[in-house]
Structure formats: C-alpha cells, structure tokens
Assembly symmetry: C2
Homo-oligomer: 352 residues x 2
DNA sequence: CAATCCGATGGTAGCGCTGTCAATAATTGT
DNA sequence: ACAATTATTGACAGCGCTACCATCGGATTG
C-alpha cells in the first residue's frame, strides 16, 4: 500500500511488470482478464501493483485499445426531480464498476440531443443511456451507427434501438383516470405542462379513458409548453376553473402541478376531496406529507437508473439480457386527495 | 461540412494536415493555439477540418500532452434540489468550452470524498470543483497536491484551498433570525436535518443571534442526522411542539422542512403566521406558491455553479481572478408565513 | 550592413498501453 | 509414451497526438 507515486518518476505498467518479474503484457492482462493468469503470477502482479501504488493511465489504455470505459447518459433536465432519482440510480450502480458516467443535458431540445449524440459518437463510449423513445430519425441513425449497447429509459415501446427500461405512461394515466372514475367523479380536468413525449402519452391515456367512459370534453383540458412549477399548477387550475367551472376532479401530469392545484384550492376555499379530487404523477415525497395527502402514480425511477446501467454493462461485457425490454411498471398510490381511505393498488409490473 | 468519417478509414490529424498542405504539428496548433498560425494556413486547416469532418482523438491528445480537459465536480447529493441548481449552472457554463464535466457523488460521506478525490488525482483533471470547506486533512492534502485549479463552492471561509464561490450560511441564518425577531417573535424554534457543515453553520447563526437577544434556549432546538424530507419537517415540528409548546416561530434549515411544518400546522389547525411564523432556507420555487407563502433565504445556486466553472477555466488558462474568494450573498425573501407584507431584503452581496 | 531577434513552421521522438500472433509449458487421450 | 490440444506467456509494433527543439525568413536596430 505504498505511496511511491509521490516519490519521483511516475509508475508505469512496465515498472509493475519488472517488479513482478513478468512481461508488461502479462501485467496488462492482470487488469483486463485476470483469470487468464496463473495464480502465482496473478498474486505477484497484484502485490507489485499495491507496492508501487500503480494507477493505470486511462488515456493510454483508450488510445491503444480503441475503447473507452465511458457510459454516456443523455437526459432532458437536471432540475426535474424525476431525473435526479434516475441519476442517483445510475451513479449508484456504476460505482464499483470500471465504467465512468458521462452526463449530457438536452434541455428538452431534440436538436441539442442530436448534437450531443454526435459528440458522444466521436468519443466512442462503451455504452449509452438515452431518455425516451422519440428520437429524431437522425438521432436514431446515430444511435444505430454507434456500435455499442444503448438503453432507452423512462418509457417502453415497440422497436427499441437496442434495450429499454421503463413503464407505460399511457397505462399509468389510464389507471389514474379509472381510479378517479371509480370514485364517482365525471368531470375530470387534465392539467399538463411542458408536453414532452412522455407527458403526451399520459395525455393519451387520459383521453382514451375518458372517451371510453363517454366523458371526454376538450374543455376539460388545459396545457402549456412552459416548464412545470408549483406556481404554474395554480395558474393552470385557475384557467381550467374559468373555462369549465363544473369540474369535480383534476389529473395533473406531475406532482408539482398537483401541489400547485392544492394550494390554489386552499386559496379559493375549495375543499379537497369533497369539492374536487386531485391526482398527481410521480409520487414525489411531498405528496404523502401534503394536507390532504395527494394521490399519485409511483414510478420506479431509482430502479430504472440502476437497471439501465446494469443492462448496458452486461451487454458491453457480452451478457445480453434475455428480453431487451424491461417494464418496471407503476403503482397507483391512493391518498386522501381523491378519496377517504388510503391504499396502494399495484399496476402492471413485469416483463413486457 | 462533409460526412467523410462515415465513409471508410478514420480521419486523423495527418489527413487534415495533408489536405491543408501543412505539417501535422501545424494542424495540431490550429486547435490549441490558432493565433500562432498565419491567417492563410489557419484558413486552410479550418476548411480541411470541415471538409473531412475531422474529430480529434481525445485519448491521444491526453496521452501526448499529459493533460486532460476534464473538470471534476464533487457534490454530496444528487437528489437535493439545491445541487440540481448548482449542477445546472455548472453544465450550462461548461458547455461551449472545451472542458468536460466529470461528476462524483459523496453521499455526504467524507470518506467517500477522500476516495473520490484520490480517484480524481489519478486522472489528472484540468480543474476541480468541490463542495464545502470542511474537507478532512487528508482530502485537503490531496487537493493541494493536485496541481490544478480548485474551487470550493456552496460557502466561503478563510483559507481556501485555491478559490471559493459561495456565501455565508452563518450570516444568512442570522439575517433570518433578525427578521423573525423584528416581527416581535421571541420563542423561535430551530429545526435541522442532516446536519452537514453548512447546516451546522446555519445553526451557529441562529444560536448566536438568539444569544445576542438573550433568547437562546436549548429546548427550542430539534435536530436529526436523518436526510431531509417534507414528512420529516412535520415530524420534527411535532417533536418541537411536544418539547416546547410555547414557540411562536420556527426557523427551518431548508424549505422542505418548512413545507412539512406548514402541513403539520394545517393538520393541527395552527394558524400561520398568526400563531406561528415559519422561515425556510434556499427559496425553492414552491415557497412562493404555498398557502401561506413561505419566507425563505434565497441563495444564488445557479450562479454559484456558473461562477465556479468560469473561475476554474479561467485559472486553467492562466487568467486567475483578482480575489480568490467570491461572495455571492443571499436575499431574505419575506413572505406571508412570517409577516403580513411580502418584500425582499438584500443580504450581503459582494466580495469577501 | 552585419548582428540580433522574433514569429511561423517543421522534424523527431515518444506518451503508456494493448492487439495480434507466435512461442512455450502444461494437460489429455489412447 | 507421443501426438494433439489447451492454458500461459511474451515480442513487436503501433494507437493519434503533442513536447521539444531546430529551422528559416524577414523585420529591427545601431
């Protein structure tokens, strides 16, 4: 466990090999494929590495091997809590592996996404994790030309580029609407901000569920392309009320909006859930603490991040999963804002 | 703007140089120090690069130059909104520069921090951004041996390792307490979770302000090492009430706790601000939307991230700032939860 | 006008590692 | 016991780029 690197000249693999009494290439194999070494050499190299405090030069490795140990991650937002959880999963499960995470932020711009993917391609990452399934044709072409495992996260669909981990936003929204309908509500408003593809899918789940019940009405819908905030939830709700005063429930595409609605109702003395049911999406922590607590759809974001990394690493190392598409499902968490009793109803969990 | 790299053999700097009719080393200089080239050569290399769609091989560059273009960022949490904002600033201002951000998460563990710093040292980053000023002696030694610009963020203090951007958590907490005292409140509770060094400093600001007013009382304090959640805010507040029923104000070390307190008060029919004043910290977006809106201390997190990157890059490129410590200050944003009128009072903004 | 300097350019020699393939040692079957 | 096979190991030759120094023409100076 020496501290020799501080001493003088840098320790190269050659030095390690010399001390261990093997050739440099054998020492190199010690890192890449230790099983290939005989036990005795393996031990000798191991102790030489420790004694000299050897640290591999990643640049030299990448140059010589034409490979990197970087997993690129492309997400649309750094501020959104949803991605914070996914990222935590990603970083947690990359730790301990040899791979390094390289993060890139598209800010919900598909052009930016194309640019970032092009950039990644130039760096030849070992694997890639991208958000969503709505890449442009150009982005998709880049991904397919990339020649490394790719996992699409956050949602699932047909025709993965390679692998997928996520859940059906459509089904999740449908389940939420079914629940509201079961509570006897009929005029269910829809509040949406920043209508990205996944939010769009939630809208479709809402729309079809409402149509199936013959309750669909365009006047129940208020959306905007503005980014989500709690304040915006209040504003959109005010717009909805002005447009359609007889609503008896609101489905919000995320919990921030739902919290904004809750506050706006407090301001207007609208009693929840007596006068209005509120259902959010994502099941952020505060939904359970709110007064009244807010019904929401729990999504397994941390696990999504973990699985995405595991799948990519497995694929890099030749252990491709049996099924390329992993459905992590969702759970409708029923709380006070939409009923009187608090329960959890399981959603579709399992393999697609 | 060709797409030749797709065609066949990879484009190396040699190819670019050949096409431009210069030596490889001149082409290399085109990227590193374009001013050193004559205008004519510069133009020729430029168009050759574009025609061939040349993309530099970063590994080769790093190997040959003994430098990387990586800025390491060490933060304690990926989930905390506070760091999400800082990170956004960091990524935003690294974009467009030649530098790449490499993120590492300590999960509030100083041992993990040491480990990560050691890892970074092995990679010889061009610069480093670390959170806080309470590194262990070992971590500090690593930082000092790193031989690259280092910026400490989130708070400021004496004896920076190199540079600092932040603000005084002590002063910010003091300002919050002064405000509460000015409202005529005397029994001001303190709620703290995950007492990291910055939260500790806020506590000291609270403690000294209370002592200065001869109002300090240990029974007013409830803290825990558990991570912050909204729910926890309610729990801690319940504990505080049980311990000291006559409180007339609560200072929470962050807005999540404050929101939890607000909800708990709604549950208990405690009227805000009539019966109790609430003040949070960070000025997250929801504080303005809450009912009643929550007084909080605004900190310039996004700007902190931006400045940190700018300072590091400037230092890497030899443009060291005049003063190594940058105080971004704070603003106490007074809202309904602690008074009746809503105003903003500026905190100490300026250079330390 | 020679001496000096400076800006622009190029040649040489690696940076530290791994791919490829050959060489050698150990193991097995009959 | 001997060929055939398999596990280990090593030699060699670069990966694509830049540091270092050398070069060269022209501008500056007394």
């Amino acid at each position: 466990m020496g501290r020799k690197q501080t001493k003088s000249g840098k320790i190269r693999l050659t030095e390690v090999a010399k001390l261990a009494g093997v050739s440099p290439i054998t020492a190199s194999r010690f890192f890449r494929n230790p099983e290939a070494l005989s036990l005795s050499k393996r031990e000798r190299v191991d102790s030489a590495v420790k004694e000299l405090g050897y640290v591999p030069n990643l640049a030299a490795r990448a140059l010589a091997s034409h490979r990197t140990e970087v997993i690129g991650v492309v997400i649309p937002s750094l501020t959104n809590n949803v991605f914070a959880d996914v990222l935590r999963g990603i970083y947690d499960s990359s730790e301990g592996s040899r791979y390094t995470i390289q993060l890139a932020n598209t800010r919900y711009s598909i052009l930016q996404e194309e640019k970032l993917l092009r950039l990644f391609r130039a760096q030849k990452p070992a694997g890639l994790i991208v958000t969503g399934i709505n890449q442009t044709a150009e982005s998709r072409a880049i991904l397919e030309s990339m020649n490394c495992p790719v996992t699409q996260i956050m949602e699932i669909g047909d025709s993965p580029v390679d692998m997928m981990v996520g859940f059906s936003h459509y089904d999740a929204a449908s389940a939420a609407i079914s629940h509201i309908l079961e509570q006897g509500r009929r005029r269910i408003g829809f509040l949406g901000a920043r209508m990205d593809p996944r939010v769009q899918r939630r809208f479709e789940g809402y729309r079809d569920a409402m149509k199936a019940a013959s309750l669909f009405d365009p006047n129940l819908i208020v959306t905007t392309s503005v980014p989500t905030t709690v304040t915006l939830g209040g504003t959109l709700f005010a717009d909805l009320l002005a447009q359609t005063p007889d609503i008896d429930a609101v489905f919000c595409v995320n919990d921030d909006l739902a919290l904004g609605v809750l506050f706006e109702c407090q301001r207007r003395q609208i009693s929840i859930p007596r006068d209005l049911a509120i259902v959010g999406f994502n099941d952020l922590e505060f939904t359970a603490a709110a007064v009244p607590s807010i019904t929401s759809v729990r999504t397994n974001r941390y696990e999504m991040g973990r699985h995405a990394v595991t799948m990519v690493i497995d694929a890099i190392e030749g252990r491709r999963p049996q099924t390329p598409v992993l459905d992590l499902g969702f759970q409708l968490v029923v709380r006070e804002s939409s009923t009187r009793q608090s329960t959890v109803m399981a959603g579709s969990v399992g393999i697609d």
